[in-house]
């Protein structure tokens, strides 16, 4: 995310089995500060072989051991292969830490419901997302290709969210006053702080007023996005 320091937050990845290993690969492509924790010796060994810098061998059911990792303010990613352990871990983490973001993978609608119930911030259902993708490929091939280009393919096109800094040229302007095309960008939607945390799609047609702290979600080339962000911070 441009305009925030979120990427620098530390990520603790719990579980380095079949699932955790793949999650690490995807995460490490984008983030550098990743710590791996697992209760199995061989998993830790494998992590070291894969080039994980910091890894801990801890008992996941031991709360004090978890506390010693220092959880607050971090992103906790639970990807244990055993789902019941995963749910238990999320519960432990939730009870120990108050201001961390807990993300968990899930393998069924039932587990997803349980994980959400005990307070995971984000639950990613492995099979649900796979099924969605399969159906999208069949029913909306063009859409899938476009989204693929944005998410998967490294071609410079991405979706970015930009928090409007104070005193920017956008302040007190309305959505329709700004032609994002001029900057080579497409505005997908915004989170208007005046109206709460909800994300509002621009296609809904409401003419929002921009304020500092609002988050814009923009689609475009990375260079255009960066240029736009620099402009926001510099100009008034």
């Amino acid at each position: 995310m441009l305009g925030s320091n979120q990427e620098t937050r530390e990520i603790i990845l719990f579980g380095y089995g079949k699932l955790g290993h793949r999650v690490y690969e995807m995460l490490s492509a984008n983030f550098s500060n990743i710590i791996v924790a697992d209760s199995r010796e061989e998993a830790i060994e494998r992590a070291k072989e894969d080039g994980v810098v910091t890894s801990f061998h801890i008992d996941m059911t031991d709360d004090t051991a978890l506390e010693e990792l220092g959880l607050n303010g971090k992103i906790l990613f639970c990807s244990m292969d055993d789902m019941s352990l995963n749910i238990f871990l999320v519960l432990s983490l939730k009870s120990i830490s108050t201001d961390s973001t807990i993300i968990s993978v899930s393998t069924s609608a039932e587990n997803t419901r349980k994980l959400k119930f005990i307070g995971a911030d984000k639950v990613i259902d492995l099979y649900e997302s796979s099924a969605n993708r399969i159906v999208d490929i069949i029913t909306r091939p063009a859409v899938t290709r476009v989204l693929d280009e944005i998410i998967y393919v490294d071609n410079g096109i991405s979706i970015e969210e930009i928090e409007i800094p104070p005193n920017s040229f956008l302040e007190s302007k309305y959505v329709y006053e700004i032609d994002f095309r001029e900057y080579g960008l497409i505005l997908i939607g915004i989170t208007d702080k005046e109206l709460g945390e909800d994300f509002i799609f621009v296609s809904r047609g409401i003419n929002h007023k921009f304020d500092a702290g609002d988050i814009l979600v923009l689609l475009g080339e990375s260079t255009a996005l960066e240029k736009f962000y620099t402009m926001l911070t510099e100009r008034k």
Partner: protein, 531 residues
């Protein structure tokens, strides 16, 4: 003289063998009469059923009342003629006479021995005779008989016209197939029953046929009584009067109950054995009518979710699964399911992979099976879309080599989604909402049809934003390439020219997208009317 005859016969046979028109005509009639996949057979069948029903109705009415003369003529000449023509056609298409002649001629040439006319005739006769004495052919023949009204008893054969309907109904035919599968048991039972009936009737005749029982006047009465008793029907119009007669009665009543329960069990077991087959036929019949079929191979976790979502999206699909427990689950969930092995080419060929199938989705829990299904499908058809699941990276390469168009790796998707969420939580929620279509905003694709108002226009000609739409990208078809390949222009400039076949990817709320699609649709109709 005989040499000349043979010469002409052989020449004529070769002529038929090489005459495309003759072959075409014969194939047409064979398709019409025997090929269930032939689309026009359905109409022929309906026509024949209508003819039969009309004929049976006329004959039934005729029993007590007098029908109009023209109806009688219709029945006598038209229906009978149609039946005769049908009978002869079936006899004709049953096999090829000229092939027998050619085979014999070539054999005689090869071994340098004389061509034997008698052998050829014998073989042809044997082939035709085999058809004539087959049950359906006999029914056909007997069904022609009721036209000889002069012989009253032949009217009974009106029934055979009803039997003839069997030919035109698959499910009725299936019933006889099922019984045929148990013919050994049924034959045993019938023999047994005949034996007991014979014994019982002879015994009752010996005991009571000498005038003691006024109802038994001959052996026929005795047989009638025995059969009525042994089948547990027991009208009671003939009852034994002597102690010996009653003892015989008691014995054959017990035997009869045994025989009837035996019969019931045979039929029930035959049906339960054939049930999967009947279901399969039904599923196949339903599914083969549909085009653009998606095959969901494997009904595990992903298979189940995919099936559900495909149904919601209104796509045609068929689940293919080997595990009986999963097959049952799919049936309970209300999906079309075929119990078959998708790694076998016979399965995919049966489903007409190249003609009917849009995509093959390999989502079994086993990577290796997914690879096999992919290889199987790709080797049979080079155009079909193959989506395959795998969890191992090394398998992913193999799947690509095997010809999968898309790979689905659940763990990778999870990692990726996690990464996107950590980096950009708001954008992630937005994408998630778009992808799952849970909220009303969604991304959709709109193809520009030939002659619609955007065909030949530029992007700037349509004000997307005032129509509450966001144009994300245009997929332009590659020149001189197949339908499927496009290149993407993100955020297209105002002056980008749009052409028929281009696909617009727009974001908006369902209503806006529907409205936009509707407008495009309408403009096509308007133009074509004025053209």
């Amino acid at each position: 003289m005989k040499r000349l005859l043979i010469k002409y016969l052989v020449a004529f046979s070769y002529f038929l063998e090489s005459a495309p028109r003759y072959q075409r005509i014969k194939r047409f009639f064979n398709d019409l009469l025997n090929n269930d996949d032939y689309p026009y057979k359905k109409y022929f069948d309906l026509f024949m059923v209508a003819i039969i029903l009309s004929s049976v109705t006329i004959l039934v009415i005729d029993v007590r009342e007098h029908v109009a003369a023209w109806l009688d003529y219709y029945d006598l000449y038209i229906v009978t003629s149609i039946f005769i023509v049908e009978y002869l056609l079936r006899l004709w298409v049953h096999d090829d006479m000229h092939k027998v002649i050619i085979a014999e001629y070539e054999e005689s040439e090869f071994f340098e021995k004389p061509f034997k006319l008698s052998k050829v005739f014998k073989e042809i006769a044997a082939q035709k005779w085999a058809y004539i004495i087959s049950v359906p052919a006999l029914i056909d023949l007997v069904a022609i008989l009721p036209s000889y009204r002069e012989i009253r008893v032949l009217r009974v054969f009106v029934l055979f016209r009803a039997f003839k309907m069997l030919r035109y109904s698959k499910s009725l035919l299936q019933f006889f197939d099922i019984l045929r599968s148990k013919r050994v048991e049924l034959y045993t039972l019938v023999t047994l029953l005949a034996f007991f009936t014979l014994i019982a009737s002879v015994m009752i005749y010996v005991f009571e046929g000498n005038g003691i029982n006024p109802h038994i006047e001959g052996l026929f009465d005795a047989v009638y009584w025995a059969l009525v008793t042994i089948t547990t029907v027991g009208y009671g119009d003939i009852a034994p009067v002597t102690t010996e007669g009653r003892a015989v009665s008691m014995l054959i009543i017990l035997t009869g109950i045994g025989a009837i329960s035996f019969l019931t069990s045979i039929i029930v077991s035959a049906f339960s054995e054939k049930l999967p087959e009947i279901k399969e036929t039904r599923v196949m019949n339903q599914i083969m009518k549909k085009r653009n079929l998606n095959l969901v191979c494997g009904y595990g976790k992903i298979g189940q979710l995919v099936s559900k979502k495909l149904q919601e999206a209104g796509e045609n699909f068929l689940v293919i699964e080997l595990d009986p427990a999963k097959v049952e689950k799919a049936e309970l969930d209300g999906f079309n399911v075929l119990r078959a092995d998708a790694t076998k080419s016979a399965t995919l060929l049966k489903l007409k992979l190249c003609d009917n199938v849009k995509s093959v989705i390999c989502v079994t829990h086993d990577d290796i099976i997914n690879v096999f299904i992919t290889i199987n499908a790709r080797s049979l058809c080079k155009d079909v879309e193959i989506i395959s699941r795998c969890s191992d990276k090394s398998v992913a390469k193999k799947l690509k080599l095997a010809g999968a168009n898309h790979l689905i790796m659940p763990e990778e998707i999870a990692g990726l989604l996690g990464a996107v969420y950590i980096g950009q939580p708001v954008a992630f929620e937005a994408l998630q909402a778009i992808l799952t279509q849970k909220r009303t905003a969604r991304i959709d694709e709109v193809e520009i049809k030939l002659g619609s108002f955007l065909d030949g226009a530029t992007v700037g000609d349509f004000d997307f934003s005032s129509n509450r739409l966001v144009l994300l990208a245009v997929l332009k078809r590659l020149e001189s390439s197949d339908r499927k390949s496009h290149y993407i222009i993100f955020n297209p400039a105002e002056e980008t020219i749009l052409k028929a076949g281009d696909i617009l990817v727009v974001m908006g709320y369902s209503v806006s997208i529907a409205d936009f699609k509707g407008r495009l649709e309408q403009s096509v109709r308007f133009k074509s009317r004025n053209a």
